[in-house]
């Protein structure tokens, strides 16, 4: 797979998860945990796409290494990923509650960040 194809592949997944995150909160019975989980992966994948686009390697499976690489793209991205990840842990590993209003705020806030990163 070429570099351009890899960038497109990560970007496609980021945008797909972004769209799903929004929809999951818009349905009659909002799926709060799934939405927050999708939002994290959307931002994470958008970062991966941008790293590749800039000619930087996407570190293996350790998300923390991706966060650190992300901070070389934009200062503050490390923090965004870490903060959103703390909510994803509540969503995916049942370590805490996420009220609907909080989920809506998270998706709204990080949608902007993700869209900036996936913009060509």
């Amino acid at each position: 797979m070429s570099k351009a194809e890899m960038v497109a592949a990560w970007r496609k997944r980021a945008l797909e998860n972004l769209e799903v995150a929004g929809r999951l909160l818009a349905i009659a019975r909002p799926a709060v945990y799934a939405a927050v989980s999708r939002m994290y992966y959307s931002l994470f994948q958008a970062v991966c796409a941008r790293l590749l686009e800039k000619g930087l390697a996407v570190p293996g499976q350790n998300h923390g290494e991706v966060w650190q690489a992300a901070d070389t793209l934009q200062p503050g991205l490390f923090f965004d990923l870490q903060d959103l990840h703390s909510w994803r842990r509540k969503a995916d590993y049942a370590t805490g509650e996420i009220p609907l209003a909080i989920a809506r705020d998270l998706v709204a806030n990080y949608t902007t960040r993700t869209r900036e990163l996936t913009a060509s």
Binding site: Q61, N62, H63, G64, G76, F78, F79, Q82, D83, H85, S86, W87, R89, K90, T95, G96, E97, P99, A101, I102, D105, L106
Partner: protein, 177 residues
Amino acid sequence: MSRDIEKIEALLTLDRFPFAVAMFPGHVQELGDVIEAQAFDVPEDEILKVSRRLNQLLVAARTRPLAVGSAFLAAESTAIRDALPRTVHWWRPTNSRQSMPWRAARLGIASRASPDERPVCRIIVTRCSSPSAAPGSWDASALLRRLAPTSAGDDWSRQLQQVLLGGARRPHYSLGA
């Protein structure tokens, strides 16, 4: 106590973080070994801000392994606190004044700057001591950074007045800058 936890404690203290934080070694599948830092009894209307602030401080601590923060609502805190490992290390705010900036934020009179922006002033909110003040009044003072040029300081002072007057929606706030 590890040097990393000492660093986190120092930042929490310096920041006057208003909630108790439990710290202990943990493991997260996609991160590996981590230092868990968990804040408890956080009101729902503050939890996003508290979580962001806690994680900002943890990022600033630059620990190895990575420190990851979570904030928990008051309603869920007891159960989570009961399940903490015995090795947990607690940091607690030391006096009530530490909660003042957060209380100010809840009252709607805090700085409009986002948490990501470099702070240019700190707002200190105290109980109003003037005998002529209405019961429950608050004084708000802004300490501008010395680095700010005089012109910026004047601008911030004006902006702060506008925030105080516009955000408080109550007559009993006063300003000293």
